[in-house]
């Protein structure tokens, strides 16, 4: 087994995410494969890396330079359900719903990470049970509570990939479910924290039914790189779909 280290370039600011991928060892050469997905290469010749360093350091913001998000006129509306740990969409506007939200009995729900992502970009207005508006502060507090199946690190990975156009779903949570059977258990599964996600490449023709196999699966690691046993166990669960590991740095 070889481990391939892939450095991602960051769209907005340095979240400090890096992604590892496992691949089968090549029978002929047995060489560890190093893949570079970014334009700023990691192959360190003395003068070249100075420009890479510039790219990294230029992402520091100065006062007044924080980018503003584009104003959205198509905002949706959703109501948070604390028991389910999800928001039920009341008014659906915009094309983002092709790749966000799960459908149960004809109704659209979104997970905490989807809800928070949409709230951060101003794409939907979130209400509480009593129709009071929920702000970002309230959503961050819900993530901190840890009862909605997503921790802060997992959300950061979600936000980073969604911002780049990837389609992200929770492992083991179907995009649609028409029958009533198993519906409740599927929704209950959303309150347990899972570190694994199904990731699809950006695709304007994505359909929730059927979505097809994900392009790869992603596991958000904790403080240490995954052990060989962990990698093998996860690969078994993936059933042949490529697996990547991500690590979130803080600061």
């Amino acid at each position: 087994m070889t481990i391939t280290l892939i450095e991602e370039s960051f769209a907005t600011h340095t979240d400090g995410l890096s992604v590892l991928e496992t691949k089968q060892i090549r029978p002929i050469t047995g060489i560890v494969e190093i893949e570079d997905l970014t334009s700023s290469s990691d192959g360190m010749s003395d003068l070249e890396v100075t420009s890479e360093e510039l790219n990294d350091e230029e992402l520091q913001y100065t006062s007044g330079s924080i980018p503003k998000l584009q104003f959205r006129k198509d905002t949706s509306k959703a109501r948070w359900n604390a028991e389910m740990g999800m928001a039920k969409v009341i008014e659906k506007n915009g094309k983002m719903w092709i790749t966000i939200g799960i459908v149960r009995r004809g109704k659209l729900y979104c997970t905490i990470e989807e809800t928070l992502f949409l709230a951060e970009i101003g794409a939907h207005h979130l209400l509480d049970v009593g129709d009071t508006t929920l702000f970002l502060k309230d959503l961050y507090e819900k993530v901190a509570e840890g009862k909605s199946g997503c921790c802060w690190e997992t959300f950061k990975v979600y936000r980073h990939l969604k911002s780049l156009g990837y389609i992200v779903g929770r492992y083991g949570v179907p995009w649609t479910m028409k029958s009533n059977n198993g519906c409740n258990s599927a929704l209950q599964g959303t309150t347990k924290t899972s570190a694994v996600s199904d990731i699809y490449l950006p695709n304007s023709k994505f359909r929730k039914s059927p979505p097809g196999d994900p392009s790869f699966m992603l596991y958000v690691t904790r403080a240490y790189p995954p052990s060989r046993n962990e990698i093998e166990e996860l690969e078994r669960k993936c059933n042949g779909i490529p697996l990547k590991f991500s690590h979130v740095d803080h600061g």
Partner: protein, 293 residues
């Protein structure tokens, strides 16, 4: 190696507005606005008004989160940054998931549960911040921190920092083999930084159960650089000539426009070196004092 400023005016701007003053203004602003942070995983989030936002950016604490919210700017701070504002500067309150403000011990216990080696990293972080260095994560370079002489928008970072602890329970497991040392020195050379090791030594009575343990350890600093005997044989002209030779040969290998016989380029280098040597000694001394740990 001194600070590498970005642009002509950067150094003057830094001297006109020292980092210590900006941090002091930030401290007052946060106290006045009673800003509180929220513990979230291994980060602390805080929503800042316009005044504090400006100072947080200028003092380089946290990363702004880009959101559509208009009246507040959200920042994500590392555990070291937020604990520095809370514990050393006493200007930030921190709440947990229950929305209740946490006291110092509760915050400490939370942080230790997430990051057991936190006392060492925090000691190193606060040690540098107290001396007005801007300290950021060094993750991209495979080190613990990078240190800037001033705001990263105006200057490149000078030091890549590794935090080591004494004894067999070294928290980081770094620099224990030559290959790691070689790797780090080569990397630092390539990104024009000096490898700085901060060794945290514990004295008697050290227990990680409370922040008081921070007073029971001290910091030992040393840099690791590569010495190339080929380039240091002539003592007299060591700065001028070898500096020129090294830079010209590098330019020669990597840039087709520069040639060894390029007189104009050589003159520019010599002038630049001359400037360093002809600088006002008092001014230089002052600068060196500021750079010292």
């Amino acid at each position: 190696m001194g600070p590498r400023w970005k642009g002509k005016d950067s150094e003057a701007r830094a001297l006109a507005e020292p980092m210590s003053e900006i941090v002091q203004q930030l401290q007052s602003c946060l106290i006045h606005s009673k800003t509180r942070g929220l513990l979230l995983g291994c980060s602390v989030l805080l929503g800042a008004g316009a005044d504090c936002m400006d100072l947080l950016i200028r003092a380089c604490f946290g990363q702004p989160i880009i959101t559509a919210e208009k009246d507040k700017q959200w920042f994500e701070l590392s555990l070291e940054e937020s604990f520095y504002l809370f514990h050393s500067l006493r200007c930030l309150e921190i709440a947990g998931e229950d929305k209740r403000l946490k006291n110092e011990d509760e915050i400490w216990q939370y942080i230790i549960s997430k990051k057991p080696a936190f006392p060492y990293f925090y000691k190193a972080y606060s040690h540098l911040r107290d001396k007005n260095w801007v300290v950021r994560s060094g993750f991209q370079y495979g080190v613990d921190f990078v240190a800037y002489h001033y705001h990263p928008a105006l200057v490149h970072s000078e030091y890549a920092i590794l935090v080591l602890s004494e004894g067999s329970d070294d928290v980081n497991g770094r620099l224990n083999v030559w290959s790691d040392l070689k790797c780090m020195v080569r990397l630092c050379g390539s990104v024009v930084k000096t490898l700085l090791v901060l060794r945290i030594n514990r004295s008697d009575g050290y227990l990680a159960v409370s922040p008081l343990c921070l007073e029971k350890c001290n910091v030992e600093e040393y840099t690791i650089t590569r010495w190339n005997p080929e380039q240091c044989r002539e003592e007299k002209t060591i700065n001028k000539r070898t500096g020129v030779c090294r830079m010209v040969s590098r330019a020669c290998n990597n840039n087709a426009k520069m040639r060894v016989g390029d007189v104009k380029y050589q003159e520019e280098i010599a002038q630049d070196n001359g400037q360093r040597h002809n600088a006002d000694p008092e001014e230089e001394k002052e600068k060196l004092e500021k750079l010292k740990f």
